[in-house]
């Protein structure tokens, strides 16, 4: 019996909802439906809901229902198949619009006219068609431009804590990001998952007022919207972004917040499916799931566009080893970590540069891209600041008077670095300004102490000051 190439004839069976558990329903008689496909659920009253097939077992299908399962009964509910996986419209008609978590308008505007439709899960980019990201993005924030440089096609998360200003930092980067010598506009697609109305209002103001509106899309899944739509929100955003970046050759920045809310939704579904829980109850496939989102960043060969991702996640209890930041850090190309201590001291933006990292920095900086001294200066500032922080810790034990003069110099540097380099406030700095501030901060050190920069760069940029450590 050779059956290859033949699909069993489509039959419409009698469909019965046999079980409703949280966001899931189990339907009997689901012949002819494909794994991962969309279904429509009609309850007789109220709007038609959509659902996605999570598992098939003979005639039974496990369906996750977008829009919640309230009102779904075992009878009077019919389940219709659509014969296709979840799709979204893509195109420029979405610019300036506010959409819900599943990509439907929520701003009372007309239905957008998409250029085309795409499956929201996308397909993995073939590694051989990728181009390595190497174009420097100037964000105007010294801690990022100078020390954790962002490049086009990178995926860089902001590890935040409850109450830290990650959202305003993301908004600021989205508003200010530009590539020197390139006038190409950056399209911003913003996916908000599980945000409060107050945060939603902030993003609406940031992205949809002023000139940015013409090149922004805002997807809002509010904290009290159905949890399950949260799983769709980043996929819809990334599908729109992939179309614009890889087919329309635009530079797209996707900002996703808050990944913690996303992961909690993932856990909720996993628990409803009675799956074996992994660390802290999160499912064992969370790495794969997050990777299926984050890996959609990149550039492709022969294409002018790029898809850069900036995702915000709140570290529960500021714990960087929590599964969400941990798995994210293993997938993304670095991380920007916010510090509660700096925030308390009023240093804005409160970026803790020591645990922050950009893995693609080297590809985007240096001669011909930024400046020859960028790498060396970054390493030197980092080394001096790390030493200064170490001395500060020591000082809390032995007291300042117990410190050798040399150590006090580092102590003063650390304070000045936080005050001026990190704490730039709302002002925008060009890269040259950022680098110059860095060299000014290094002025108190004798050249021999600065081992991370080359002799030529020292001669060119280092203006040793006769300042002593006492002026701190």
């Amino acid at each position: 019996m050779t059956t290859t190439g033949a699909r069993v004839p489509f039959t419409v069976g009698h469909r019965t909802v046999t079980r409703v558990a949280g966001p899931l329903i189990i339907v009997d008689g689901m012949d002819g439906v494909g794994y991962g496909e969309l279904v429509e659920i009609e309850t007789g009253d109220g709007p038609v809901r959509e659902g996605q097939v999570l598992e098939l077992d003979r005639s039974l299908a496990v369906v996750q229902v977008f829009g919640g399962t309230a009102g779904i009964g075992r009878r009077e509910t019919s389940v219709l198949t659509r014969g296709r996986a979840a799709r979204t419209g893509v195109g420029t008609d979405y610019f300036g619009r506010v959409l819900d978590g599943a990509g439907r308008p929520r701003d009372n505007g007309p239905q957008p006219v998409p250029d085309d439709y795409r499956h929201v899960n996308g397909l993995p980019l073939n590694p051989i068609t990728r181009a390595h990201p190497d174009q420097f993005i100037e964000t105007g924030v010294s801690a990022i431009d100078g020390l954790t440089t962002l490049v086009r096609g990178q995926k860089l998360p902001i590890f935040s804590g409850a109450g830290l200003p990650a959202n305003s930092l993301a908004a600021r980067i989205a508003a200010q990001a530009r590539v020197p010598g390139d006038d190409g506009e950056v399209v911003v697609i913003f996916a908000a998952m599980g945000v409060t109305r107050r945060e939603a209002e902030f993003f609406r103001t940031e992205f949809l007022t002023g000139g940015a509106a013409a090149r922004s899309v805002l997807l809002l899944n509010l904290a009290d919207d159905p949890t399950i739509e949260r799983l769709l929100t980043p996929r819809v955003a990334l599908t729109m972004a992939e179309y614009l970046a890889f087919e329309q050759h635009r530079h797209v920045l996707v900002v996703m917040t808050d990944m913690t809310a996303y992961c909690e939704a993932l856990r909720e579904i996993s628990a409803a499916r009675e799956e074996m829980p992994g660390r802290r109850g999160y499912p064992g496939y969370m790495y794969t799931d997050l990777a299926s989102l984050y890996e959609r960043a990149g550039r492709v060969r022969g294409g002018a566009g790029s898809l850069t991702q900036l995702m915000i996640l709140t570290m529960p209890d500021d714990d960087i080893t929590h599964p969400i930041p941990d798995l994210t850090g293993y997938i993304t190309e670095g991380q920007i970590v916010l510090s509660r201590e700096l925030d308390r001291q009023g240093i804005q933006p409160p970026i803790d540069v020591l645990p922050s990292l950009s893995r693609l920095m080297n590809a985007g900086i240096g001669v011909g891209k930024t400046r020859d001294d960028h790498r060396g200066l970054a390493d030197q500032l980092y080394a001096c600041y790390a030493r200064g922080r170490e001395v500060r810790r020591l000082m809390s034990i032995v007291g300042e008077s117990g410190l050798p003069t040399e150590d006090r110099c580092y102590l003063a540097f650390a304070a000045a670095f936080e005050r001026t380099y990190l704490g730039q406030g709302p002002a925008r700095r060009t890269l040259t300004e950022t680098l110059d501030v860095g060299w000014q901060l290094l002025a108190p050190f004798p050249a021999a102490e600065l081992k991370r920069v080359s002799a030529e760069q020292l001669a060119h940029y280092h203006h040793e000051a006769s300042v002593t450590a006492t002026d701190a």
Partner: protein
Amino acid sequence: MTTTRPRTEPVEPRRPGQARQVTTDSGRVVRISGPVVSATDLPHTRLFDVVRVGIEQLLGEVIKLDGDLVVMQVFEDTTGLQVGDPVVATGEPLYAELGPGLLGGILDGTQRPLTNLSTDGNLYIARGADPPRLDRDQRWDFRPVVEVGDRVGPGDLLGSVPEGRAVEHRILVPTGITGVVTAVHPGPATVVDPVVDIDGHPVAMMRRWPLRLARPVANRLPLTVPLITGQRVLDLLFPVARGGSAIIPGGFGTGKTVLEQALAKFSNADVVVYVGCGERGNELTEVLEEFPGVTDPRTGAPLMERTVLIANTSNMPVAAREASIYSGITIAEYYRDQGYDVAMMADSTSRWGEALREVSSRLEEMPAEDGYPAYLATRLAGFYERAGAVQCLGTPERTGSVTIVGAVSPAGGDFSEPITQNSLRLAGCFWALDTALSRQRHFPAVNWLRSFSQYGLDAWFDREIGPDWSPLRRWAAAALQDEGALQEVVSLLGVEALAAEQRITLRIGQALREDLLQQSSFDDLDASCPPQRLLAMLRVVHEAGAAMRSALQQGVAITDITAASVLAELGRMRRWPPDDIDDSAIHLTRRIAEEMSSL
């Protein structure tokens, strides 16, 4: 069970026009849960048989039999698959195709060439594609070494083809065949054309071998020769033997991938198999863009010509991730059998373990620690034990080795998790990457107090590099240990609390850490350090320590000694011009001694 016995000896390459001699079974899908699909009506199917699932003929493999139910893992995305879709069993396990054309290739987890998976400008990986694993059209210039009438047995050399400039690809008699050469066909041939007839049976260049089965060898050999990695901290303190295995555990951002790539670039292996297992797409792109342009200093050929890349990025299907490790090790063994020293890099074995966990969880198996299946240790052992230095089968006599370097990504950077702990029992080298060191931008962030090497290679280094290697190595290890202990005192009481003698130990430790162990992968001169240069640098640091101690005995103040400007020169050792190392070392040693005595 990690391996399965091949049904037939997997030695006969298929000849053109010859039909596949297997019985096929066809059944129906009854259950779909992500990559795990169950089917019925496949009565003849055995464990680890390859299946084709659905109308798109997705590639899969049988992983469990339960009554009538055949449970499979599918190596491609299963979206759209329906209950009732057809399943065809091929009756064969998953094979690697081995032959000329592997080097320079970029393959997915099941050895499909990625270049053939995205055609016509498509950026994404299409489903159900089944291109030949080895190019069937390319012709290779077969140069026989056997003549008609020669009696040959398994592993005997038949001839060779030049595969790039770096490696001569040796064609061996397949396992299980003994006989007399009845015809020889020299000259250009594809991998499936007959090149030699043995007892009248044509033998082509291509071999097929089941991924999960280790290839046979004549003898296993003791591990006495190091794989020179070019990384000072590894070669000096924790060398790995050719044929040994090493693991690199480290939290994110500690530099696992940079170190793996440095080893792939600079280690003195003949062939490198690099498996990017569940890692970032952009990192593979970096390798793809960089390797063709980097010249292997030993052969003068681009690095890519000695490298096979296997790529399963983190968004590619999870089941193929599980297979990618076996594809890699099988290819590595194949080159080992030709008499080469092969290094296999697996980045990261944790993603492989997680793939096992995901499939196991969908099979609803009883989980052991952290949700990993109870057979995790067995699977890891089955992989790491395929490393080894061997006497190859057949004539002429030759030896080869496979060295495995596996990166481990422990959750939360916590080394007590199951993959790290199980790998630790198997691997002979433990190169622990340290988050604290990486935050100090000390790279490679190998923690010298936690790491270890169980290979006794001092004798080789003393003989080949310099007789003072092992004494100096022990001195450096002890000095770092002492410094570590003193640093704990300093962090509590400050440096002033130490005696002058101890502050010299501290200064020597600093020189060892900053000027010797640190190494920049991004600096052309420093990225790889030959052992001769390493020894020269170590000697200078050792002499500098002695000079400091003698200055102290002469009554010089400790602050003057440790602040001596000449010590900053130690930081420039890594940038000494390669042809001038001995002179530079003598010169610097003399200057340090002079300045110390003039204080």
